[in-house]
């Protein structure tokens, strides 16, 4: 058949061969089978002419699987090609070789890939990376070997290879996230230079990676919205959870400071938002959406809106994603509202998506403009779109109560529209709306009842009937009339309408049996002989239920209840609501169904995995080097700590458990540490469940500031203190809650000993001038993290620690103002009254003595024990705190035997000297040692401080050295109402750290 072609292929002339190959390829393209030419074609694989060669390759790839034996003939040519000096030929040989799906040559392919992976030319290495998934799909047994190759290629430094190898990684072993660690920073840095397709793949992979390796940047903020205390919980828990978190806390994650690597990723991907490739932009957008702190997500909106100018397919995909995002982050797209306005030339599917976005964006302020837009849309020619618009109006009306009436009126006007579809759709929507507030709208129901004569769309008819039935009390006169009409036309109705007619009849029968008894009987009889079994069933069922017969007495009574029960109003919500569990920008997200090979986006880890895995022994790339070193430097001491600790801890580990078991018996009754800790705060006798406690705490939290404000009003001198105390107590109570949560999580942890860094009073006023002030205020940036008893096991209830942190904070932050008013009541600089004691009015007051460092601005750490079994306890500050910090125990050794339930406290001061180094000391009991390291994270623990405006200003005046950022503050919601006046919250945070909290005011 193809003799002429064969002849041409056999000829010596390249041009003839070429012509033949072209014709063959054209045949393939037309879908004709050219496989019988295989032998003739394969002969030419060694042809010198490159174009012939290429076409032969095309042919080979197409038919090799069918004719495996013959395909083997060509292999040797490729093997020769792999050694060719021309990199292009090497690469293309590898490409074709790997594309030939013949199982016998798997070992050859493996060998070729391995060789190519160490080729000089990056282009060949890239091809090798491409070959990996091909081989994998041919023979998945090679996985282990392939992973080795991938590992090797991942270490490659050229941009050309990066994209391809990550693609191979995703195909072959997406679960081996550990391979990425070493290359993470390199990938981040190379990202911008990688070709665009590679960028997409890398970004997607890094998104997953980051989700497993970094802590959620939003946990604090999102929790903060719920309640202030929860915010502390998030970070505390992690810190307490494992020893490594201690290392991670170097990264100062409280209230979360981003891991520098996380930051690196975000920073390096941001410019890619300006890529011309929509896929890259989308990839970055999803990365930001999934990874970035809330405050930073906004940057993607602009880029996404820009994509809306692109081809309609791109628009479609982008809008789908925007729709999902706009549910979660409405604010993000609000400024671009107008970009989502609909043009009459848009395809219907895009119109509907835009509508979806507009509806999601609707809120109190922009609703009127949106509704005005909707009004124009209703007049559109595209009926599907009009229907969607009406539904959108319905959703706006449900979501925003203010405009409900307007919407309803608008929809009622639509009822007089000539187009039936429009009317039907609006009837359905009105029905839903009316269900929410039926009482006022009998007029509308009447109006709709009249419409039954005209409307033919079954869904709408059914809706009207349902409405009338449901609210037949509101329209007593019309309802039977409607029923009569419907009964007349019953046989001609659609099924759905028939069902509703039966419903209506039943309801009327129950409410107004006098008028409608016969009609109901009639309808039921008609229904009995209906063709549809649903209707027959329904009729039978209802007859039994409502028509009193001698048998069915019992149910009968309840019939009315059954039929006229209050029905909950339907909630109209977006169909995009549940989509966000798919990774944005993915195919699965678009289809809202899991696609083959979809990689679930992992949730945030609860604890930070060791960041050091990303460290590379030899810093290879210039950019990173300095950073790397710095990081290592910082990390080093820390690691040594934790390592040093781990030894003793582990040994100690076993014991605490046994101890805690003992304690558990008692704690089960509620003498858990959080309970006891409250005692110390003064609220003595709490032995309820933790949950209750939490609730109480919250209440207290409310009370406390109120009281505080009273106090401040009353006593001038003490005003500041008290207000500050109030906030302190608030924060402390919040902390204690978090603390208790912490205890819950490590199940057996019922602490017996507690440790509390108590606040220290700042040095007398004399000190507090000029630079000193600044240092004081700087100090509030440093809060002791929950001292981490390395085995989180039981012993130290972190809760109290954090409690008092709150106190510390506030005290120091207010240092200049505070010291005076307090000093009268306590000998300055030596012992203080725990401020919290003043606060809880309902509880007995308790004073805990403090000792203060002579040094001015130290932290005083109050360690108090509460024991159930007598034991010796002492504190031994080892003072091995690194540079600039020294721990100085006021009482280096405090030895005391403690009776069960007793409290002893020791105060020790640590001066962090404005550094963030950790201070370490030992806690020893007669049985074990606990290593405690306190590290002041920058900008931790925002502790709201309440004071009156005047006072605040006074403070402000004093603190002239400080740079101030005043922001509109959002108070922890509970206090807000109480304290309209005392609305100034100072919180301790580094001035420079903006992203972590737009929530409080920073100073």
């Amino acid at each position: 058949r193809h003799d002429d072609l064969k002849e041409m292929l056999d000829s010596n002339k390249d041009s003839l061969k070429l012509e033949a190959m072209k014709r063959i390829v054209a045949m393939i393209a037309r879908g004709k089978n050219a496989s019988d030419l295989f032998p003739a074609v394969v002969k030419n694989v060694a042809c010198k002419n490159i174009e012939v060669k290429k076409l032969v390759y095309v042919y080979l790839v197409r038919y090799a699987e069918e004719q495996q034996d013959l395909a083997l003939l060509s292999i040797s040519t490729f093997q020769r090609g792999l050694k060719d000096p021309n990199q292009l030929i090497r690469a293309s040989a590898l490409r074709v070789l790997s594309s030939i799906r013949v199982p016998i040559i798997v070992p050859i392919m493996m060998l070729a890939i391995k060789e190519a992976a160490s080729d000089m030319s990056p282009y060949v290495r890239k091809t090798a990376a491409h070959a990996i998934p091909k081989l994998y799909s041919l023979d998945s047994d090679q996985k282990d070997q392939l992973i080795e190759v991938i590992e090797k290629l991942l270490a490659d430094k050229t941009t050309l290879v990066a994209g391809s190898v990550v693609m191979a990684f995703e195909e072959v072993c997406p679960e081996r996230i550990d391979l990425i660690h070493k290359n993470y920073r390199k990938l981040c840095n190379l990202l911008i230079d990688v070709e665009e397709w590679g960028q997409v793949v890398i970004i997607n992979m890094l998104t997953r990676y980051a989700r497993t390796q970094f802590l959620s940047p939003n946990q604090n903020e999102s929790l903060l919205e719920e309640s202030a205390e929860k915010a502390f919980y998030g970070s505390d828990e992690e810190d307490a959870k494992d020893a490594k978190a201690e290392a991670a806390s170097l990264a100062k994650r409280k209230p979360y400071v981003m891991d520098p690597d996380h930051r690196l990723l975000l920073r390096n991907t941001k410019p890619l938002l300006q890529s011309r490739n929509a896929a890259v932009v989308m990839a970055v957008a999803q990365l930001y959406f999934h990874l970035a702190p809330k405050a930073e997500v906004g940057v993607i909106a602009k880029a996404l809106v820009r994509l809306l100018r692109s081809h309609s397919e791109v628009q479609y995909v982008v809008l789908q994603n925007v729709a999902t995002m706009s549910i979660k982050r409405r604010g993000m797209f609000e400024p671009y509202l107008k970009s989502f306005y609909i043009r009459s030339t848009d395809p219907t599917q895009i119109k509907i998506l835009k509508l979806e976005v507009l509806t999601n964006l609707a809120n109190e302020t922009n609703i009127s403009t949106i509704l005005r837009e909707f009004q124009t849309y209703i007049r559109s020619m595209d009926k599907d779109f009009v229907a969607a618009t009406i539904q959108a109006i319905g959703r706006c009306a449900t979501n925003i109560g203010k405009v409900r009436d307007t919407c309803l009126n608008g929809l009622v006007q639509l009822l007089s529209n000539r187009d039936e579809l429009v009317v039907a759709e609006s009837v359905v929507v009105i029905k839903k709306l009316l269900q929410m507030q039926p009482a006022q709208h009998s007029e509308i129901i009447k109006h709709m009842a009249k419409l039954t004569d005209n409307i033919q769309v079954p869904m709408a008819r059914a809706s009207i009937l349902w409405l009338i039935g449901e609210y037949c009390e509101h329209v007593p006169k019309i309802a039977p009339d409607v029923l009569r009409k419907m009964a007349k036309s019953f046989t001609n109705e659609e099924d759905i309408v028939k069902l509703q007619v039966i419903n209506l009849a039943a309801k009327l029968y129950l409410t107004n049996s006098k008028q409608s008894k016969l009609l109901t009987q009639y309808v039921l009889n008609l229904a009995k002989y209906d063709q549809n079994y649903d209707i027959r069933d329904r009729a039978r069922f209802i007859r039994q239920l409502i028509v009193p017969t001698e048998k069915s007495g019992a149910l009968n009574k309840y019939a009315k209840k059954l039929f006229l029960a209050q029905k909950p109003a339907p909630i109209l919500e977006s169909s995009f609501k549940d989509r966000d569990h798919f990774q944005l920008g993915s195919l699965s997200h678009l289809l809202n169904a899991k696609a083959v090979g979809y990689q679930e986006l992992p949730g945030w880890p609860d604890e930070a995995p060791d960041p050091s895995v990303r460290n590379v022994e030899v810093p290879e790339w210039t950019k990173c080097t300095s950073r790397e070193k710095r990081k290592e430097k910082v990390e080093k001491p820390f690691y040594s700590d934790s390592e040093g600790e781990s030894g003793p801890t582990e040994s100690a580990d076993s014991e605490p458990e046994s101890v805690s078991e003992e304690s558990e018996s008692s704690s089960s009754e509620g003498t858990s540490s959080s309970g006891s800790e409250e005692e110390e705060e003064g609220s003595g006798d709490q032995s309820e469940d933790k949950e209750e406690e939490e609730k109480r705490k919250k209440k207290k939290e409310k009370e406390a500031p109120r009281k505080a404000s009273l106090e401040s009003a009353g006593r001038k001198g003490r005003g500041e203190t008290s207000s500050e105390e109030a906030s302190a107590s608030e924060s402390s109570s919040s902390d204690s809650e978090s603390g208790s949560e912490v205890q819950e999580s490590p199940a057996e942890v019922e602490a017996k000993q507690r440790k509390a860094p108590a606040s220290t009073k700042p040095s007398p006023r004399a000190n507090a001038v000029g630079p000193k002030e600044i240092s004081l205020l700087d100090l509030d940036d440093f809060t002791p993290p929950p001292p981490q008893p390395v085995p989180t096991s039981s012993i130290v209830s972190t809760s109290l620690v954090t409690d008092l942190e709150g106190l510390t904070l506030t005290d120091t932050s207010l240092a200049p103002a505070v010291s005076d008013p307090i000093s009268p009541c306590i000998p300055p600089g030596i012992s203080h009254i725990l401020p919290a004691d003043h606060l809880n009015p309902c509880c007995p007051q308790q004073q805990a003595p403090h000792q203060c460092m002579p040094q001015g601005t130290p932290w005083v750490l109050q360690l108090s024990w509460r024991r159930l079994s007598p034991r010796l306890g002492w504190v031994l500050p080892t003072g091995k705190a690194p540079a600039g910090c020294w721990g100085r125990g006021a009482s280096p050794v405090l030895s005391e035997s403690l009776a069960p339930g007793d409290t002893a406290s020791v105060v020790m001061g640590i001066d962090f000297c404005d550094s963030t180094q950790a201070a370490n000391f030992q806690l020893c009991t007669h049985t074990r040692h606990f290593y405690v390291s306190i590290q002041p994270p920058v900008g931790e623990l925002m502790a709201p401080v309440f004071m009156s405006e005047n006072e605040f200003k006074k403070e402000q005046g004093k603190l002239t050295g400080m740079s101030e950022i005043t922001e509109k503050l959002t108070l922890p919601e509970k206090c807000r109402s109480d304290h309209a006046i005392v609305q100034q919250v100072t919180s301790a945070a580094n001035v420079g750290r903006v992203p972590c909290g737009a929530d409080n005011e920073y100073r």
Partner: protein, 386 residues
């Protein structure tokens, strides 16, 4: 997956069609559907963007991208796709590189090839692929070195019934045609870079310099390319250069409707508005229209109900208008919506946003290039609701 071409399906096809085992992603351009079949999870935009790139490449190769063209050049199409894709992963998508790998067919070359038997496949790996500037090929030589930049701005606007603007925004692009020898390094600076609100660049632009100095610094690809596209910030009020007066009314009962449109210039900064076309999708009920334009020509297609009126230049002294009557379907009630009017126009030598290129400098090469810049304002999606 392989990109395959398939022609003719209904319009309004969703870009993604799921089937039990595969997903079909399609792109509709030049009246051809380009369909990609994929088996597993992949970012849909990735595929769609790639398909668009394929179409762009075909267009670049063949001039037009039509069904006939693809059929005629099926071998080249195969070769090109082969280079662009490897096992479903995009390989070389820069047309500069592709053209080096596979020479585009020209009439001259086909003649030469048939005589000499030489190929149109390059046998050297384009160095660009390996270099840091993968978008530019090496060894470019021109006798006339020239660089032209077109600043084209499009106004997207929706104007409501009463003539007030609902939304209006300016989207602009800078298209460049650079024919320079060697490896020139260009910098382009603007008089008022602040105007640019949101930009996206060709990969050649150095992002860092833009961030710090608001200067476009780049080694251009050879030939035509889109250097940058931008969006002018919404805060700036957009001056709408034209206005449309319309009076379209249907009367109940009668089978006639009145139709009247006048187009006039507004805030054009002394430039003439050219190439004006007005098109409007009339409601279904309209059977025919008898209109008389004061200038230009008009066509009404009674099947698609599309009215288009090619106006041409607007002469401010004598405003073009189109007047007449519509005959409606007898007995049908009056259509409840009025048609929207789509407007196209061009204004030469004006960037409506006021963007101005300050200067273009070249480094790295010795010769002096010929530089040129052109401004143009066009209507993008310009709609008037009536």
């Amino acid at each position: 997956f392989e990109a395959q071409e398939r022609a003719s399906e209904a319009e309004n096809v969703p870009p993604v069609i799921p089937t039990p085992h595969h997903y079909l992603l399609s792109v509709y351009r030049h009246k051809i559907f380009f369909v990609a079949v994929i088996q597993s999870e992949v970012p849909p935009l990735f595929v769609i963007e790639f398909l668009h790139r394929v179409v762009d490449t075909f267009q670049d190769y063949f001039g037009v991208c039509s069904e006939v063209m693809i059929k005629d050049n099926v071998v080249v199409v195969y070769e090109v796709l082969e280079e662009m894709l490897d096992n479903g992963f995009p390989l070389a998508t820069e047309s500069n590189i592709l053209k080096e790998l596979i020479k585009p067919p020209t009439i001259l070359r086909t003649v030469v090839n048939t005589i000499t038997g030489s190929t149109n496949v390059g046998d050297q790996l384009p160095t660009g692929q390996l270099s840091v500037v993968p978008w530019r090929r090496t060894g470019v030589k021109y006798t006339n070195n020239e660089a032209y930049f077109d600043v084209i701005e499009e106004i997207d606007a929706i104007i409501d019934k009463s003539g007030s603007t609902i939304t209006a925004e300016i989207q602009g692009v800078i298209d460049a045609c650079v024919k320079l020898t060697g490896m020139p390094d260009l910098t382009l600076s603007f008089m008022n870079p602040r105007l640019l609100d949101d930009v996206s660049f060709h990969p050649c632009v150095r992002f860092k310099r833009w961030e710090s100095e608001r200067i476009l610094s780049f080694i251009p690809p050879d030939g035509n390319f889109r250097l940058l596209s931008y969006h002018v910030s919404a805060q700036n009020l957009v001056a709408i250069p034209v206005y449309v007066k319309h009076n379209i009314s249907f009367r109940d009962g009668s089978s006639l409707g009145r139709f009247e449109i006048t187009v006039g210039p507004k805030q054009t900064m002394g430039k003439t508005i050219e190439g004006v076309t007005v098109s409007s999708q009339m409601p279904k009920g309209v059977l025919n229209m008898s209109l008389t334009p004061s200038q230009g020509t008009h066509i009404f297609d009674p099947v698609t109900k599309l009215l288009s009126w090619d106006v041409g230049k607007i002469n401010p002294q004598k405003l073009p208008s189109l007047k007449g009557t519509m005959s409606l379907q007898a007995g049908a009630s009056k259509p409840d919506e009025n048609p929207t009017i789509n407007l196209q126009f061009k204004i030469q030598q004006l960037a409506i946003s006021g963007l101005k290129v300050n200067r273009l400098d070249m480094y790295g090469e010795k010769y002096k290039p010929f530089k040129g810049i052109k401004y143009m304002t066009k209507a993008g999606k310009f709609q008037v609701r009536t």
